[in-house]
Protein backbone atom coordinates (compact mmCIF):
# COMPACT_ATOMS: atom_id res chain seq x y z
CA UNK A 1 0.00 0.00 0.00
CA UNK A 2 1.07 3.57 -0.61
CA UNK A 3 2.55 5.78 2.07
CA UNK A 4 0.04 8.62 1.61
CA UNK A 5 -2.38 9.30 4.44
CA UNK A 6 -5.17 6.73 4.79
CA UNK A 7 -8.67 7.39 3.44
CA UNK A 8 -10.25 6.66 6.80
CA UNK A 9 -8.61 6.81 10.16
CA UNK A 10 -10.24 5.91 13.45
CA UNK A 11 -8.19 7.18 16.38
CA UNK A 12 -8.72 6.05 19.98
CA UNK A 13 -12.47 5.82 19.59
CA UNK A 14 -14.44 4.91 22.70
CA UNK A 15 -18.20 4.78 22.95
CA UNK A 16 -20.37 4.27 26.00
CA UNK A 17 -24.10 3.91 26.51
CA UNK A 18 -24.65 4.72 30.14
CA UNK A 19 -22.82 1.86 31.84
CA UNK A 20 -22.25 -0.23 28.70
CA UNK A 21 -18.92 0.30 26.99
CA UNK A 22 -19.57 -0.55 23.36
CA UNK A 23 -16.12 0.51 22.15
CA UNK A 24 -12.84 1.04 23.99
CA UNK A 25 -9.94 2.92 22.40
CA UNK A 26 -10.27 1.43 18.96
CA UNK A 27 -7.64 2.41 16.39
CA UNK A 28 -7.51 1.44 12.75
CA UNK A 29 -7.17 2.91 9.31
CA UNK A 30 -8.41 2.03 5.85
CA UNK A 31 -6.38 2.84 2.76
CA UNK A 32 -7.83 3.99 -0.50
CA UNK A 33 -8.80 1.05 -2.67
CA UNK A 34 -8.87 -1.50 0.14
CA UNK A 35 -11.49 -4.12 0.83
CA UNK A 36 -11.43 -4.06 4.59
CA UNK A 37 -13.39 -6.27 6.97
CA UNK A 38 -14.42 -5.94 10.59
CA UNK A 39 -15.26 -9.19 12.33
CA UNK A 40 -16.06 -10.22 15.87
CA UNK A 41 -18.63 -12.09 17.94
CA UNK A 42 -22.18 -10.79 18.45
CA UNK A 43 -22.26 -7.62 20.49
CA UNK A 44 -18.56 -6.95 19.92
CA UNK A 45 -19.25 -3.39 18.80
CA UNK A 46 -18.90 -3.74 15.01
CA UNK A 47 -22.11 -1.91 14.13
CA UNK A 48 -21.35 0.72 16.77
CA UNK A 49 -18.00 1.24 15.06
CA UNK A 50 -19.67 1.79 11.67
CA UNK A 51 -22.15 4.14 13.30
CA UNK A 52 -19.27 6.24 14.60
CA UNK A 53 -17.86 6.45 11.08
CA UNK A 54 -21.18 7.23 9.37
CA UNK A 55 -22.17 9.73 12.04
CA UNK A 56 -25.13 7.96 13.62
CA UNK A 57 -23.24 7.83 16.94
CA UNK A 58 -20.79 10.37 18.25
CA UNK A 59 -17.82 8.75 20.00
CA UNK A 60 -17.52 9.52 23.71
CA UNK A 61 -13.80 9.84 23.11
CA UNK A 62 -11.45 9.79 20.15
CA UNK A 63 -11.76 11.08 16.62
CA UNK A 64 -12.60 9.97 13.12
CA UNK A 65 -10.67 11.32 10.13
CA UNK A 66 -11.76 11.05 6.52
CA UNK A 67 -9.31 12.10 3.83
CA UNK A 68 -7.22 13.65 6.56
CA UNK A 69 -10.10 15.80 7.76
CA UNK A 70 -11.63 15.53 11.22
CA UNK A 71 -15.27 14.52 10.66
CA UNK A 72 -16.12 13.62 14.27
CA UNK A 73 -18.51 16.54 14.67
CA UNK A 74 -20.28 16.15 11.32
CA UNK A 75 -23.87 14.98 10.95
CA UNK A 76 -24.67 11.80 8.97
CA UNK A 77 -26.06 13.78 6.02
CA UNK A 78 -22.93 15.95 5.85
CA UNK A 79 -20.80 12.82 5.84
CA UNK A 80 -22.83 11.39 2.97
CA UNK A 81 -22.11 14.45 0.90
CA UNK A 82 -18.34 14.19 1.47
CA UNK A 83 -18.26 10.56 0.37
CA UNK A 84 -19.22 8.17 3.17
CA UNK A 85 -21.96 5.74 2.16
CA UNK A 86 -23.40 2.78 4.02
CA UNK A 87 -25.94 0.00 4.24
CA UNK A 88 -27.67 -1.21 7.39
CA UNK A 89 -27.63 -4.51 9.23
CA UNK A 90 -31.41 -4.50 9.47
CA UNK A 91 -33.26 -3.71 6.27
CA UNK A 92 -33.65 0.00 5.87
CA UNK A 93 -35.21 0.62 2.47
CA UNK A 94 -37.93 3.17 1.82
CA UNK A 95 -40.63 0.52 1.89
CA UNK A 96 -43.39 2.28 -0.07
CA UNK A 97 -41.15 3.58 -2.83
CA UNK A 98 -40.26 1.73 -6.01
CA UNK A 99 -36.83 0.19 -6.29
CA UNK A 100 -35.97 2.86 -8.83
CA UNK A 101 -36.98 5.72 -6.54
CA UNK A 102 -35.08 4.16 -3.65
CA UNK A 103 -31.93 4.23 -5.71
CA UNK A 104 -32.70 7.73 -7.02
CA UNK A 105 -32.79 8.95 -3.40
CA UNK A 106 -29.14 7.93 -3.29
CA UNK A 107 -28.48 10.65 -5.88
CA UNK A 108 -29.90 13.27 -3.53
CA UNK A 109 -26.69 15.14 -2.81
CA UNK A 110 -25.56 14.93 -6.44
CA UNK A 111 -28.80 16.43 -7.78
CA UNK A 112 -29.23 20.19 -7.86
CA UNK A 113 -32.96 20.52 -8.53
CA UNK A 114 -35.27 21.67 -5.75
CA UNK A 115 -38.98 22.04 -5.07
CA UNK A 116 -39.23 24.99 -7.46
CA UNK A 117 -37.35 23.57 -10.44
CA UNK A 118 -38.75 20.15 -9.61
CA UNK A 119 -42.31 21.47 -9.52
CA UNK A 120 -41.80 23.10 -12.92
CA UNK A 121 -40.41 19.81 -14.19
CA UNK A 122 -40.39 20.48 -17.93
CA UNK A 123 -38.82 23.91 -17.47
CA UNK A 124 -36.39 22.79 -14.82
CA UNK A 125 -35.46 19.42 -13.46
CA UNK A 126 -36.27 17.05 -16.29
CA UNK A 127 -32.89 17.04 -18.01
CA UNK A 128 -30.97 16.57 -14.80
CA UNK A 129 -33.32 13.87 -13.51
CA UNK A 130 -32.99 11.85 -16.71
CA UNK A 131 -29.19 12.16 -16.71
CA UNK A 132 -29.11 10.76 -13.19
CA UNK A 133 -31.61 8.11 -14.13
CA UNK A 134 -29.06 6.83 -16.64
CA UNK A 135 -26.42 6.51 -13.90
CA UNK A 136 -28.92 4.66 -11.74
CA UNK A 137 -29.64 2.27 -14.61
CA UNK A 138 -25.91 1.42 -14.76
CA UNK A 139 -26.06 0.39 -11.12
CA UNK A 140 -29.27 -1.55 -11.74
CA UNK A 141 -27.61 -3.45 -14.57
CA UNK A 142 -24.52 -4.14 -12.50
CA UNK A 143 -26.53 -5.63 -9.63
CA UNK A 144 -28.92 -7.43 -11.99
CA UNK A 145 -32.11 -5.99 -10.55
CA UNK A 146 -33.60 -4.63 -13.78
CA UNK A 147 -36.59 -6.96 -13.50
CA UNK A 148 -37.69 -5.47 -10.16
CA UNK A 149 -37.09 -1.80 -11.05
CA UNK A 150 -40.74 -0.84 -10.67
CA UNK A 151 -41.54 -3.13 -7.75
CA UNK A 152 -42.40 -1.60 -4.40
CA UNK A 153 -39.33 -2.10 -2.22
CA UNK A 154 -41.26 -3.36 0.78
CA UNK A 155 -42.68 -6.30 -1.15
CA UNK A 156 -39.34 -7.84 -2.16
CA UNK A 157 -37.62 -10.90 -0.76
CA UNK A 158 -34.93 -10.45 1.85
CA UNK A 159 -32.04 -11.16 -0.50
CA UNK A 160 -33.30 -8.73 -3.12
CA UNK A 161 -33.84 -6.01 -0.57
CA UNK A 162 -30.23 -6.33 0.55
CA UNK A 163 -29.20 -5.95 -3.07
CA UNK A 164 -31.37 -2.87 -3.57
CA UNK A 165 -29.88 -1.41 -0.42
CA UNK A 166 -26.42 -1.89 -1.89
CA UNK A 167 -27.60 -0.24 -5.11
CA UNK A 168 -28.91 2.74 -3.17
CA UNK A 169 -25.64 3.13 -1.27
CA UNK A 170 -23.70 2.90 -4.55
CA UNK A 171 -25.86 5.63 -6.08
CA UNK A 172 -24.45 8.05 -3.50
CA UNK A 173 -21.10 7.54 -5.30
CA UNK A 174 -19.27 7.36 -2.00
CA UNK A 175 -15.51 7.24 -1.74
CA UNK A 176 -15.91 4.67 0.99
CA UNK A 177 -18.84 2.31 1.37
CA UNK A 178 -19.65 0.72 4.72
CA UNK A 179 -21.53 -2.58 4.47
CA UNK A 180 -23.08 -3.97 7.65
CA UNK A 181 -23.55 -7.72 7.17
CA UNK A 182 -24.44 -7.59 3.47
CA UNK A 183 -24.91 -11.36 3.31
CA UNK A 184 -26.79 -12.02 6.54
CA UNK A 185 -29.82 -14.23 6.04
CA UNK A 186 -28.98 -15.15 2.46
CA UNK A 187 -28.80 -18.58 0.90
CA UNK A 188 -25.56 -19.87 -0.57
CA UNK A 189 -26.27 -18.75 -4.11
CA UNK A 190 -27.29 -15.26 -3.03
CA UNK A 191 -24.14 -15.06 -0.89
CA UNK A 192 -21.94 -15.98 -3.82
CA UNK A 193 -23.58 -13.31 -5.96
CA UNK A 194 -23.20 -10.71 -3.26
CA UNK A 195 -19.52 -11.59 -2.71
CA UNK A 196 -18.93 -11.18 -6.45
CA UNK A 197 -20.68 -7.78 -6.46
CA UNK A 198 -18.56 -6.59 -3.55
CA UNK A 199 -15.32 -7.67 -5.22
CA UNK A 200 -16.37 -5.98 -8.50
CA UNK A 201 -17.44 -2.90 -6.61
CA UNK A 202 -13.98 -2.72 -5.15
CA UNK A 203 -11.95 -3.69 -8.20
CA UNK A 204 -13.96 -2.36 -11.14
CA UNK A 205 -15.81 0.57 -9.59
CA UNK A 206 -12.78 1.48 -7.52
CA UNK A 207 -14.72 1.91 -4.29
CA UNK A 208 -13.06 1.46 -0.95
CA UNK A 209 -15.11 -1.06 1.03
CA UNK A 210 -15.48 -1.61 4.76
CA UNK A 211 -17.52 -4.72 5.46
CA UNK A 212 -18.86 -6.36 8.59
CA UNK A 213 -19.56 -10.02 7.99
CA UNK A 214 -20.02 -13.18 10.01
CA UNK A 215 -19.32 -15.64 7.20
CA UNK A 216 -15.61 -16.35 7.77
CA UNK A 217 -15.22 -18.13 4.44
CA UNK A 218 -16.26 -15.06 2.49
CA UNK A 219 -14.36 -12.62 4.70
CA UNK A 220 -11.07 -14.50 4.44
CA UNK A 221 -11.60 -15.04 0.73
CA UNK A 222 -12.19 -11.51 -0.44
CA UNK A 223 -10.74 -9.13 2.19
CA UNK A 224 -7.41 -7.41 1.82
CA UNK A 225 -7.15 -6.70 5.52
CA UNK A 226 -9.20 -7.64 8.58
CA UNK A 227 -9.59 -6.33 12.11
CA UNK A 228 -11.19 -8.25 14.94
CA UNK A 229 -13.25 -6.68 17.72
CA UNK A 230 -14.10 -8.36 20.99
CA UNK A 231 -16.02 -6.69 23.82
CA UNK A 232 -15.44 -3.35 22.15
CA UNK A 233 -11.68 -3.72 21.88
CA UNK A 234 -9.58 -4.41 18.83
CA UNK A 235 -7.75 -7.67 19.40
CA UNK A 236 -6.18 -8.23 15.98
CA UNK A 237 -5.40 -6.39 12.76
CA UNK A 238 -3.76 -7.92 9.71
CA UNK A 239 -3.93 -9.93 6.53
CA UNK A 240 -6.60 -12.64 6.38
CA UNK A 241 -3.99 -15.39 6.78
CA UNK A 242 -2.54 -13.75 9.89
CA UNK A 243 -6.00 -13.42 11.38
CA UNK A 244 -6.80 -17.07 10.62
CA UNK A 245 -3.75 -18.27 12.46
CA UNK A 246 -4.00 -15.78 15.34
CA UNK A 247 -4.50 -17.73 18.58
CA UNK A 248 -6.25 -14.89 20.39
CA UNK A 249 -8.79 -14.60 17.58
CA UNK A 250 -9.51 -18.32 17.65
CA UNK A 251 -10.23 -18.17 21.36
CA UNK A 252 -12.35 -15.04 21.06
CA UNK A 253 -14.26 -16.12 18.04
CA UNK A 254 -14.88 -19.74 18.80
CA UNK A 255 -15.12 -19.26 22.52
CA UNK A 256 -12.87 -22.31 22.95
CA UNK A 257 -9.29 -23.17 22.24
CA UNK A 258 -9.04 -25.00 18.92
CA UNK A 259 -6.86 -27.77 20.35
CA UNK A 260 -9.40 -28.37 23.07
CA UNK A 261 -12.08 -28.52 20.45
CA UNK A 262 -10.13 -31.00 18.37
CA UNK A 263 -9.51 -33.07 21.42
CA UNK A 264 -13.20 -33.02 22.25
CA UNK A 265 -14.03 -34.13 18.73
CA UNK A 266 -11.49 -36.93 18.93
CA UNK A 267 -13.04 -38.23 22.14
CA UNK A 268 -16.57 -38.14 20.69
Amino acid sequence: MSTTSPLLEVRDVSLGFGGVRALTEVNFHVNKGELFSIIGPNGAGKTSMLNCVSGRYKPTNGRVFFEGRDVTGMTPNQRATIGIGRTFQNLALFGHMSVLDNIMVGRHHLLKNNFLTGGLYWLGAQKEELAHRRKVEDIIDFLEIAHIRKATAGTLSYGLRKRVELARAMAVEPKIILLDEPMAGMNLEEKEDMARYIVDLNEEWGMTVVMIEHDMGVVMDISHRVIVLEFGRKIADGLPDDIMSNERVKVAYLGVDEDEENAAEAVA
Binding site: S54, R56, T75, P76, N77, A80, T81, G85, R86, F88, A92, L93, F94, G95, H96, M97, S98, D101, M104, V105, G106, R107, H108, H109, L111, N113, N114, F115, T117, G118, G119, L120, Y121, A125, Q126, E129, L130, R133, R134, E137, K150, A151, T152, G154, T155, R168, V172
Partner: protein
Protein backbone atom coordinates in the same frame (compact mmCIF):
# COMPACT_ATOMS: atom_id res chain seq x y z
CA UNK B 1 -49.99 4.10 2.50
CA UNK B 2 -50.19 3.68 -1.19
CA UNK B 3 -48.06 1.26 -3.09
CA UNK B 4 -47.68 1.89 -6.76
CA UNK B 5 -47.26 -1.69 -7.85
CA UNK B 6 -50.65 -2.00 -9.48
CA UNK B 7 -49.62 -0.78 -12.89
CA UNK B 8 -51.34 -2.88 -15.53
CA UNK B 9 -49.08 -5.25 -17.37
CA UNK B 10 -48.43 -4.96 -21.05
CA UNK B 11 -47.02 -1.44 -20.69
CA UNK B 12 -43.48 -1.22 -22.01
CA UNK B 13 -41.54 1.99 -22.00
CA UNK B 14 -38.91 2.70 -24.62
CA UNK B 15 -37.08 5.67 -23.12
CA UNK B 16 -36.41 7.01 -19.65
CA UNK B 17 -38.34 10.16 -20.48
CA UNK B 18 -41.42 8.10 -21.33
CA UNK B 19 -40.82 6.06 -18.23
CA UNK B 20 -40.93 9.05 -15.89
CA UNK B 21 -44.28 10.56 -16.79
CA UNK B 22 -46.77 11.79 -14.21
CA UNK B 23 -49.44 9.38 -15.37
CA UNK B 24 -48.38 5.77 -15.32
CA UNK B 25 -50.29 4.86 -18.49
CA UNK B 26 -51.25 6.82 -21.64
CA UNK B 27 -54.88 6.01 -20.91
CA UNK B 28 -54.61 7.75 -17.55
CA UNK B 29 -53.12 10.78 -19.20
CA UNK B 30 -55.88 10.84 -21.80
CA UNK B 31 -58.47 10.66 -19.00
CA UNK B 32 -56.89 13.57 -17.17
CA UNK B 33 -56.77 15.73 -20.30
CA UNK B 34 -60.34 14.80 -21.17
CA UNK B 35 -61.51 15.72 -17.65
CA UNK B 36 -59.92 19.15 -17.90
CA UNK B 37 -61.49 19.73 -21.33
CA UNK B 38 -64.83 18.61 -19.94
CA UNK B 39 -64.47 21.05 -17.05
CA UNK B 40 -63.58 23.89 -19.41
CA UNK B 41 -66.86 23.26 -21.21
CA UNK B 42 -68.80 22.62 -17.99
CA UNK B 43 -70.17 26.15 -17.32
CA UNK B 44 -72.10 25.99 -20.62
CA UNK B 45 -74.27 23.12 -19.41
CA UNK B 46 -74.05 23.11 -15.60
CA UNK B 47 -76.18 25.31 -13.36
CA UNK B 48 -74.78 27.58 -10.68
CA UNK B 49 -75.39 25.09 -7.90
CA UNK B 50 -73.28 22.47 -9.63
CA UNK B 51 -70.61 25.02 -10.46
CA UNK B 52 -70.44 26.14 -6.86
CA UNK B 53 -69.85 22.54 -5.82
CA UNK B 54 -67.04 22.19 -8.35
CA UNK B 55 -65.52 25.46 -7.13
CA UNK B 56 -65.61 24.17 -3.55
CA UNK B 57 -63.95 20.93 -4.60
CA UNK B 58 -61.32 23.05 -6.34
CA UNK B 59 -60.19 25.27 -3.49
CA UNK B 60 -60.60 22.58 -0.84
CA UNK B 61 -58.70 20.17 -3.09
CA UNK B 62 -55.75 22.53 -3.44
CA UNK B 63 -55.53 22.90 0.33
CA UNK B 64 -55.98 19.15 0.84
CA UNK B 65 -53.11 18.41 -1.56
CA UNK B 66 -50.90 20.58 0.63
CA UNK B 67 -51.95 18.58 3.67
CA UNK B 68 -51.28 15.35 1.81
CA UNK B 69 -47.74 16.50 1.01
CA UNK B 70 -47.22 17.09 4.73
CA UNK B 71 -49.10 14.14 6.22
CA UNK B 72 -49.27 11.57 3.43
CA UNK B 73 -45.87 12.06 1.84
CA UNK B 74 -43.67 13.41 4.63
CA UNK B 75 -45.42 11.54 7.43
CA UNK B 76 -45.99 14.51 9.73
CA UNK B 77 -49.42 14.85 11.26
CA UNK B 78 -51.06 18.27 11.33
CA UNK B 79 -54.21 19.30 13.16
CA UNK B 80 -53.77 22.94 12.19
CA UNK B 81 -54.35 23.05 8.45
CA UNK B 82 -57.51 25.14 8.69
CA UNK B 83 -55.52 27.84 10.46
CA UNK B 84 -53.25 28.23 7.45
CA UNK B 85 -56.21 28.04 5.10
CA UNK B 86 -57.80 30.90 7.05
CA UNK B 87 -54.59 32.87 7.12
CA UNK B 88 -54.43 32.73 3.32
CA UNK B 89 -58.03 33.94 3.07
CA UNK B 90 -57.42 36.90 5.38
CA UNK B 91 -54.01 37.72 3.93
CA UNK B 92 -55.34 37.95 0.38
CA UNK B 93 -58.27 40.15 1.44
CA UNK B 94 -55.88 42.27 3.50
CA UNK B 95 -53.39 42.74 0.63
CA UNK B 96 -56.26 43.80 -1.61
CA UNK B 97 -58.14 46.00 0.87
CA UNK B 98 -55.18 47.72 2.52
CA UNK B 99 -52.67 48.00 -0.31
CA UNK B 100 -54.81 47.75 -3.40
CA UNK B 101 -52.95 44.71 -4.67
CA UNK B 102 -55.10 43.25 -7.48
CA UNK B 103 -56.86 40.08 -6.34
CA UNK B 104 -55.20 37.89 -9.00
CA UNK B 105 -51.82 38.83 -7.51
CA UNK B 106 -52.99 39.03 -3.92
CA UNK B 107 -53.98 35.35 -3.92
CA UNK B 108 -50.56 33.88 -4.79
CA UNK B 109 -48.89 36.54 -2.61
CA UNK B 110 -51.09 35.52 0.29
CA UNK B 111 -49.99 31.95 -0.35
CA UNK B 112 -46.36 33.07 -0.10
CA UNK B 113 -47.14 34.84 3.20
CA UNK B 114 -48.78 31.67 4.45
CA UNK B 115 -45.67 29.74 3.42
CA UNK B 116 -43.52 32.00 5.57
CA UNK B 117 -45.91 31.47 8.47
CA UNK B 118 -45.84 27.71 7.86
CA UNK B 119 -42.04 27.71 7.91
CA UNK B 120 -42.08 29.61 11.21
CA UNK B 121 -44.49 27.15 12.80
CA UNK B 122 -42.51 24.36 11.15
CA UNK B 123 -39.28 25.24 12.94
CA UNK B 124 -40.39 23.88 16.31
CA UNK B 125 -42.72 21.33 14.74
CA UNK B 126 -39.94 19.95 12.53
CA UNK B 127 -38.24 18.67 15.65
CA UNK B 128 -41.27 16.86 17.01
CA UNK B 129 -42.82 13.54 16.09
CA UNK B 130 -46.06 11.65 16.62
CA UNK B 131 -48.27 12.75 19.48
CA UNK B 132 -46.05 15.72 20.34
CA UNK B 133 -46.31 17.00 16.79
CA UNK B 134 -50.08 16.50 16.82
CA UNK B 135 -50.33 18.62 19.96
CA UNK B 136 -47.99 21.30 18.62
CA UNK B 137 -50.04 21.67 15.44
CA UNK B 138 -53.22 21.59 17.51
CA UNK B 139 -51.79 24.53 19.41
CA UNK B 140 -50.98 26.36 16.18
CA UNK B 141 -54.62 25.98 15.19
CA UNK B 142 -55.72 27.85 18.31
CA UNK B 143 -52.97 30.45 18.11
CA UNK B 144 -54.13 31.33 14.60
CA UNK B 145 -57.83 31.28 15.49
CA UNK B 146 -57.09 33.64 18.33
CA UNK B 147 -55.01 35.86 16.07
CA UNK B 148 -57.87 36.12 13.56
CA UNK B 149 -60.25 37.18 16.31
CA UNK B 150 -57.93 39.82 17.77
CA UNK B 151 -55.94 41.28 14.89
CA UNK B 152 -58.43 43.92 13.77
CA UNK B 153 -55.88 45.53 11.47
CA UNK B 154 -55.44 42.27 9.57
CA UNK B 155 -58.67 40.32 9.74
CA UNK B 156 -61.20 42.90 10.80
CA UNK B 157 -61.45 41.04 14.10
CA UNK B 158 -64.88 39.79 15.05
CA UNK B 159 -66.58 41.65 12.22
CA UNK B 160 -64.51 39.89 9.55
CA UNK B 161 -63.14 41.17 6.28
CA UNK B 162 -64.67 41.82 2.89
CA UNK B 163 -62.94 40.10 -0.01
CA UNK B 164 -63.33 41.68 -3.44
CA UNK B 165 -64.08 39.60 -6.51
CA UNK B 166 -61.38 38.78 -9.05
CA UNK B 167 -60.73 41.50 -11.59
CA UNK B 168 -58.94 40.48 -14.75
CA UNK B 169 -57.95 42.96 -17.49
CA UNK B 170 -60.69 45.33 -16.32
CA UNK B 171 -63.41 42.64 -16.30
CA UNK B 172 -64.92 41.62 -13.02
CA UNK B 173 -65.19 37.84 -12.78
CA UNK B 174 -67.96 37.98 -10.23
CA UNK B 175 -70.37 35.18 -11.13
CA UNK B 176 -69.74 31.50 -10.54
CA UNK B 177 -68.73 30.97 -14.14
CA UNK B 178 -65.88 33.47 -14.07
CA UNK B 179 -64.60 32.29 -10.72
CA UNK B 180 -64.89 28.69 -11.83
CA UNK B 181 -62.19 29.28 -14.44
CA UNK B 182 -59.93 30.99 -11.92
CA UNK B 183 -60.20 28.00 -9.61
CA UNK B 184 -59.78 25.52 -12.46
CA UNK B 185 -56.60 27.30 -13.53
CA UNK B 186 -55.10 27.03 -10.05
CA UNK B 187 -56.20 23.43 -9.58
CA UNK B 188 -54.48 22.37 -12.80
CA UNK B 189 -51.34 24.37 -12.00
CA UNK B 190 -51.06 23.27 -8.37
CA UNK B 191 -51.77 19.61 -9.07
CA UNK B 192 -49.22 19.51 -11.89
CA UNK B 193 -46.64 21.21 -9.68
CA UNK B 194 -47.44 18.79 -6.87
CA UNK B 195 -47.10 15.73 -9.10
CA UNK B 196 -43.84 17.02 -10.54
CA UNK B 197 -42.48 17.82 -7.12
CA UNK B 198 -43.13 14.28 -5.98
CA UNK B 199 -41.21 12.70 -8.82
CA UNK B 200 -38.11 14.86 -8.35
CA UNK B 201 -35.42 15.33 -5.72
CA UNK B 202 -37.24 17.14 -2.93
CA UNK B 203 -40.41 15.09 -3.25
CA UNK B 204 -38.47 11.84 -2.99
CA UNK B 205 -36.69 13.29 0.04
CA UNK B 206 -40.10 13.83 1.73
CA UNK B 207 -41.09 10.22 1.15
CA UNK B 208 -37.68 9.02 2.29
CA UNK B 209 -38.04 10.97 5.54
CA UNK B 210 -41.44 9.37 6.04
CA UNK B 211 -40.42 5.79 5.23
CA UNK B 212 -37.06 5.56 7.02
CA UNK B 213 -35.56 8.71 8.43
CA UNK B 214 -32.30 7.06 9.49
CA UNK B 215 -31.45 5.89 6.01
CA UNK B 216 -32.72 9.16 4.54
CA UNK B 217 -30.07 10.88 6.62
CA UNK B 218 -27.38 8.53 5.39
CA UNK B 219 -28.41 9.39 1.82
CA UNK B 220 -27.43 12.99 2.54
CA UNK B 221 -30.92 14.27 3.35
CA UNK B 222 -31.08 16.98 6.01
CA UNK B 223 -34.05 15.80 8.10
CA UNK B 224 -34.79 19.10 9.80
CA UNK B 225 -34.66 21.01 6.54
CA UNK B 226 -37.14 18.71 4.84
CA UNK B 227 -39.50 18.51 7.79
CA UNK B 228 -39.70 22.30 7.89
CA UNK B 229 -39.86 22.63 4.11
CA UNK B 230 -42.82 20.28 4.04
CA UNK B 231 -44.67 22.54 6.47
CA UNK B 232 -43.85 25.51 4.26
CA UNK B 233 -45.06 23.90 1.04
CA UNK B 234 -48.20 22.53 2.61
CA UNK B 235 -48.94 26.03 3.90
CA UNK B 236 -48.54 27.46 0.42
CA UNK B 237 -51.28 25.15 -0.81
CA UNK B 238 -53.43 25.91 2.23
CA UNK B 239 -52.95 29.64 1.78
CA UNK B 240 -53.83 29.58 -1.90
CA UNK B 241 -56.91 27.44 -1.27
CA UNK B 242 -57.96 29.81 1.49
CA UNK B 243 -57.45 32.90 -0.67
CA UNK B 244 -59.65 31.40 -3.41
CA UNK B 245 -62.26 30.54 -0.78
CA UNK B 246 -62.29 34.11 0.56
CA UNK B 247 -62.67 35.83 -2.76
CA UNK B 248 -65.30 33.35 -3.83
CA UNK B 249 -67.48 33.97 -0.78
CA UNK B 250 -66.75 37.70 -0.83
CA UNK B 251 -66.41 37.75 2.92
CA UNK B 252 -64.00 36.16 5.39
CA UNK B 253 -65.09 35.57 8.96
CA UNK B 254 -62.86 34.52 11.83
CA UNK B 255 -65.27 31.79 12.94
CA UNK B 256 -64.87 29.70 9.81
CA UNK B 257 -61.46 28.14 10.38
CA UNK B 258 -61.97 25.82 13.30
CA UNK B 259 -60.38 22.56 14.35
CA UNK B 260 -63.38 20.84 12.76
CA UNK B 261 -62.29 22.14 9.39
CA UNK B 262 -58.75 20.89 10.05
CA UNK B 263 -60.20 17.46 10.74
CA UNK B 264 -62.27 17.65 7.58
CA UNK B 265 -59.07 18.26 5.62
CA UNK B 266 -57.54 15.21 7.27
CA UNK B 267 -60.68 13.29 6.37
CA UNK B 268 -60.29 14.22 2.72
CA UNK B 269 -56.79 12.80 2.45
CA UNK B 270 -57.59 9.72 4.52
CA UNK B 271 -60.64 8.95 2.41
CA UNK B 272 -58.86 9.74 -0.85
CA UNK B 273 -55.60 8.04 0.00
CA UNK B 274 -52.62 9.21 2.05
CA UNK B 275 -49.69 9.76 -0.27
CA UNK B 276 -51.71 10.00 -3.48
CA UNK B 277 -52.18 13.13 -5.58
CA UNK B 278 -55.15 11.78 -7.53
CA UNK B 279 -56.61 10.34 -4.33
CA UNK B 280 -56.60 13.82 -2.80
CA UNK B 281 -59.04 14.98 -5.44
CA UNK B 282 -61.23 11.92 -4.94
CA UNK B 283 -61.32 12.40 -1.18
CA UNK B 284 -62.11 16.09 -1.51
CA UNK B 285 -64.95 15.34 -3.92
CA UNK B 286 -66.32 12.78 -1.50
CA UNK B 287 -66.14 15.17 1.45
CA UNK B 288 -67.73 18.06 -0.41
CA UNK B 289 -70.53 15.91 -1.82
CA UNK B 290 -71.28 14.05 1.40
CA UNK B 291 -73.21 16.89 3.13
CA UNK B 292 -75.09 17.58 -0.10
CA UNK B 293 -76.06 13.95 -0.41
CA UNK B 294 -77.15 13.98 3.25
CA UNK B 295 -79.27 17.03 2.60
CA UNK B 296 -80.85 15.32 -0.41
CA UNK B 297 -81.45 12.21 1.66
CA UNK B 298 -83.06 14.18 4.44
CA UNK B 299 -85.43 15.99 2.08
CA UNK B 300 -86.49 12.65 0.59
CA UNK B 301 -87.04 11.34 4.11
CA UNK B 302 -89.13 14.40 4.90
CA UNK B 303 -91.42 13.85 1.95
CA UNK B 304 -91.76 10.17 2.85
CA UNK B 305 -92.52 10.79 6.50
CA UNK B 306 -94.78 13.76 5.90
CA UNK B 307 -96.40 15.70 8.72
CA UNK B 308 -94.33 17.66 11.18
CA UNK B 309 -90.64 17.31 10.20
CA UNK B 310 -89.15 20.32 11.96
CA UNK B 311 -87.07 17.95 14.10
CA UNK B 312 -85.43 16.69 10.90
CA UNK B 313 -84.70 20.23 9.77
CA UNK B 314 -83.07 20.99 13.09
CA UNK B 315 -81.09 17.76 12.97
CA UNK B 316 -79.71 18.35 9.50
CA UNK B 317 -76.57 20.14 10.68
CA UNK B 318 -75.83 17.28 13.07
CA UNK B 319 -76.50 14.69 10.42
CA UNK B 320 -74.00 16.40 8.13
CA UNK B 321 -71.33 16.58 10.84
CA UNK B 322 -71.89 13.03 11.98
CA UNK B 323 -71.75 11.64 8.46
CA UNK B 324 -68.29 13.17 7.98
CA UNK B 325 -67.01 11.63 11.18
CA UNK B 326 -68.60 8.31 10.34
CA UNK B 327 -67.11 8.30 6.84
CA UNK B 328 -63.61 8.91 8.25
CA UNK B 329 -63.99 6.10 10.76
CA UNK B 330 -65.38 3.66 8.19
CA UNK B 331 -62.58 4.39 5.77
CA UNK B 332 -59.93 4.02 8.47
CA UNK B 333 -61.33 0.61 9.32
CA UNK B 334 -62.29 -0.80 5.93
CA UNK B 335 -60.25 1.06 3.33
CA UNK B 336 -57.23 2.66 5.01
CA UNK B 337 -55.53 3.08 1.60
CA UNK B 338 -58.41 5.25 0.45
CA UNK B 339 -60.51 5.55 -2.68
CA UNK B 340 -57.45 5.58 -4.93
CA UNK B 341 -56.69 2.02 -3.86
CA UNK B 342 -60.21 0.85 -4.82
CA UNK B 343 -59.80 2.61 -8.09
CA UNK B 344 -56.44 0.99 -8.86
CA UNK B 345 -57.81 -2.43 -8.04
CA UNK B 346 -60.73 -1.80 -10.35
CA UNK B 347 -58.41 -0.64 -13.07
CA UNK B 348 -56.17 -3.69 -12.97
CA UNK B 349 -59.31 -5.83 -12.95
CA UNK B 350 -60.58 -4.28 -16.19
CA UNK B 351 -57.15 -4.28 -17.75
CA UNK B 352 -56.99 -8.04 -17.36
CA UNK B 353 -60.68 -8.71 -18.05
CA UNK B 354 -61.87 -11.39 -18.64
CA UNK B 355 -58.77 -13.09 -17.24
CA UNK B 356 -58.75 -11.29 -13.95
CA UNK B 357 -57.57 -14.21 -11.86
Amino acid sequence: MISSSLIPCGQFKTSYAKDTTIFDTPVMRAWAVASVLFLIAAPSFLNNYHLSILIQIGFMGIAALGLNILVGYTGQISLGHAGFFGFGAFASAWLNNSFGVPVVLAMPLAAVMTTVLGLLFGIPAGRLKGLYLAIATFASQFILEDFFARADWFSGGSSGAAAAPVNLFGYELSGDTGFFYVVLFWVVVMFLIGSNLLRTRDGRAFIAVRDHYLSAEVMGINLTKYRILSFGLSSFYAGLGGALYGHYLGFVSAEGFTILMSIEFLGMIIIGGLGSVAGTLMGTTFMVLLPEVMEGGVSIAKSLIGGDVSWLNEGLAYIKQASIGLAIILFLIFEPDGLIHRWRLGRSYWKLYPFSY
